[in-house]
C-alpha cells in the first residue's frame, strides 16, 4: 500500500501536506503525532471520505476514483467512536461487513452467514451473538467493530485509535488480536495510536506526523527518540528500550 503526495484541508486551511507513506503487505504502520497533526484526516483521506489531492494505491492499483463498493472490498475502517445502532444484535452488526460483497437490497446469503460465523468465532463473539450491541462491554464492542471490519474481507484495515476507550488490559487484548489477525491473514494494518509505547510495541513501522507533514518514518526505535518527542510533542520524556520495543517514559519537570 502506498500513499503519494496526499494533500488535504478544511476550507483554506491545509491539514495534510504532500504526505508520502509506504506499507508492505502484511505490515502494521502506526501513524503517531500530537493532537491536531492530521492523523484522523489522513485516515479519512486514504478512505476517500475527505476531498484530497494525491494518490492512494493498494497493490499498485489506485483507489482514488475507484467505485465505492470495490474500495470497500479493499479497505475496511473502524472509526475512533463507532456508532452502535440501537436494538441491533452483535451478529446483525457483524453481518453489515458483508454489505460490499452482496447486492445492497438483498438478504445475506449462506456464504455471508458462514463468513460472519467464522469471524465471530475467531474473535470470541459467538457467546454474545444475539445480544444487543448496547449491552456489550467496551472491549467486546471494540471486538464487534473489528469483527464487522474483518467480515468485509479487506486487504487493508484502517483503525482510528482502536484503544481510545479501553483500559490498558483491554487495549493490549485488542492490539494482540489485530496483530494475530494480520499475521494469519496477511492483512495490512494502518492505525493511528496516541499511546506511543503501545504504538512502538505493536506496529512494525511508525510514521510521525507533525503539522500535516511526515517528519519521521521508520522502525519504532528510529522514530521514538527523546529529541523527536521534544521537538514535535513539546514533551519531556525518556525512551527506554525493552525486549518488546521502545517504551516512552514521561519525565516530570524538576521545578
Amino acid at each position: 500500500m502506498e500513499v503519494v503526495g496526499l494533500t488535504a484541508g478544511y476550507g483554506r486551511t491545509r491539514v495534510l501536506d504532500a504526505v508520502r507513506l509506504t506499507v508492505e503487505p502484511g505490515g502494521w504502520l502506526a501513524v503517531i503525532g500530537p493532537n491536531g497533526s492530521g492523523k484522523s484526516t489522513l485516515l479519512r483521506s486514504i478512505l476517500g471520505f475527505h476531498p484530497h489531492r494525491g494518490q492512494v494505491r493498494v497493490d499498485g492499483v489506485p483507489t482514488t476514483g475507484m467505485p465505492r463498493r470495490e474500495r470497500a472490498r479493499t479497505m475496511a475502517y473502524a472509526p475512533q467512536t463507532p456508532v452502535l445502532p440501537d436494538g441491533v444484535t452483535t451478529r446483525d452488526y457483524v453481518t453489515l461487513g458483508r454489505t460490499p460483497h452482496r447486492p445492497l437490497l438483498a438478504a445475506p446469503r449462506g456464504v455471508d452467514r458462514q463468513i460472519v460465523g467464522d469471524v465471530m468465532e475467531r474473535l470470541g463473539l459467538t457467546p454474545m451473538a444475539e445480544r444487543p450491541l448496547a449491552t456489550l462491554s467496551g472491549g467486546e464492542q471494540q471486538r464487534a467493530v473489528l469483527g464487522r471490519s474483518l467480515a468485509q474481507q479487506p486487504r487493508v484495515l484502517l483503525l482510528d485509535e482502536p484503544t481510545a476507550a479501553l483500559d490498558l488490559g483491554h487495549a493490549q487484548q485488542v492490539l494482540d488480536l489485530v496483530d494475530r489477525l494480520r499475521r494469519q491473514d496477511g492483512l495490512t494494518v494502518i492505525s493511528t495510536l496516541h499511546d506511543l509505547t503501545l504504538a512502538g510495541q505493536y506496529a512494525d513501522r511508525l510514521a510521525l506526523l507533525s503539522e500535516g507533514r511526515v517528519v519521521a518514518e521508520g522502525s519504532p526505535a528510529e522514530v521514538l527518540t527523546t529529541q523527536a518527542l521534544h521537538t514535535h510533542y513539546g514533551a519531556r520524556a525518556e525512551v527506554v528500550h525493552g525486549p518488546s520495543g521502545p517504551a516512552v517514559l514521561p519525565v516530570r519537570s524538576s521545578d
Binding site: R44, F49, R68, P79, V83, R180
Partner: protein
Amino acid sequence: MTTTTPGTRSGTARPAAPGRRRPGPALGGAGLALVLALLAGVWVGALPLPPSAVVATLLDRLLSPLGGSVPGGLEGAQAAVLLELRLPRVLIASLVGAGLAISGAAYQGVFRNPLADPYLLGAAAGAGLGATLVIAYSPVQSVGPIGIVPLAAFVGALIGVGCALALGTAAGGSHSATLLLAGIAVAAFLAAAQTLVQQQNTDDLREVYGWLLGQLGRSQWSDVVLVLPYLGVACTVLLLCGRALDVLAVGDDEASSLGVHPGRLRLVVILAASLATATAVAVSGLIGFVGLVVPHIVRRLTGGSHARVLPMSLLVGGAFLVLCDLVARVVLAPAELPIGVVTAFIGAPFFAGLLWAGARRR
C-alpha cells in the same frame, strides 16, 4: 475475557445459528392483526350487520371475478352500507396508517433520530398551507374527479419537503443535521403563512380545523383508486431500502466504508417517504401520532433492524389506524370524534404502557 480465543475456528459448520430471531412469526401476526382489524372495521358501525353475512358478502365480491359465488350475503341498503361506505373507509384508513407508519420508520432511520416523524420536513405545514389556501380562496371544488383540497394538500406537502431538501442541500450537502434544521425552518415559515391566511378568513375556520385534525369520513372508492399507485410505489421503494438503512444506521463515514452512498440513499428514502406522506395527507388530512409511535412499538417487538421494522410498521400502522377509526365512529355515535384525537388518546397510553413494561423488564 479468558474466553477470547482468536484464531480458533469452530470445527462444525453452522449454517444458521440457533435462537436467531426469525421475522416470519412477527410478520404473520401483524398480517393477521391487520385482517382482523379490517373485518372489525367493516362489521362494527351505526347500522348493525350480521358478521356471517358480512364475511359472505366480502367473499362473494372477491370470488366473483373468478366465476365463484358465495350465498348468504347482504342485500339492498345493508350491502350498500358495507360496500360503498364502510369498505372504502376502512381501506383508506389502513392505507393511510400503513403509509404514515412506514414513512415515520424511514424518517427515523434516515435521520438516526427517534423523534423524527413523517411531518418533520415540512410535509404537514406545506399540506396545511395548501389546503387552507384553497378552502379560503378557490372558486372551484374539484379539478376533474379530484377534490381541490386533497390536490392542494398533496402539492403543498411535496413543495414543503422540496423546499426543505433544496435549502438543506444548498446549505451543507446531505448531512442529516443540516437537512433537519432546514426542515424546521421551512415548516415554521409555512405554518406561519397558514396561520396568516387562516386569520384573514375566519369564516372558513371550522372547515380548516376539521381538515387539520384529520378525517376519514368522506372516503370513497375513487380515493382508494387514487391513493393506491402512489402509496404502492413509495412503500415498495421503502421496503427495498430496509437493509440499506441498516447500513446507514452506523453513521455516514462507516456506511461509506461499507460501499454505500449515504447522501444518495438518504435522498431516495426521503423522496419515497414524502410521497407516501403527501398521499396520505391528501386523503385524510393531518393525522398525528401514527407515524411517530407505531415504529417505536414495532421496534420493541422486533428489534432495531430496518429490514424488519419497515414491513412490520406497514402492517401494524394499517391495523392501528383502522381500529382508531372504529373507535372514532363508535364512541359518540352517531357523531364522530376527530381521528387525530383518537390516535393520540389510544396510542399515548398504549405506548406509555410499553415503555413502562420495558423498563420493568430490565
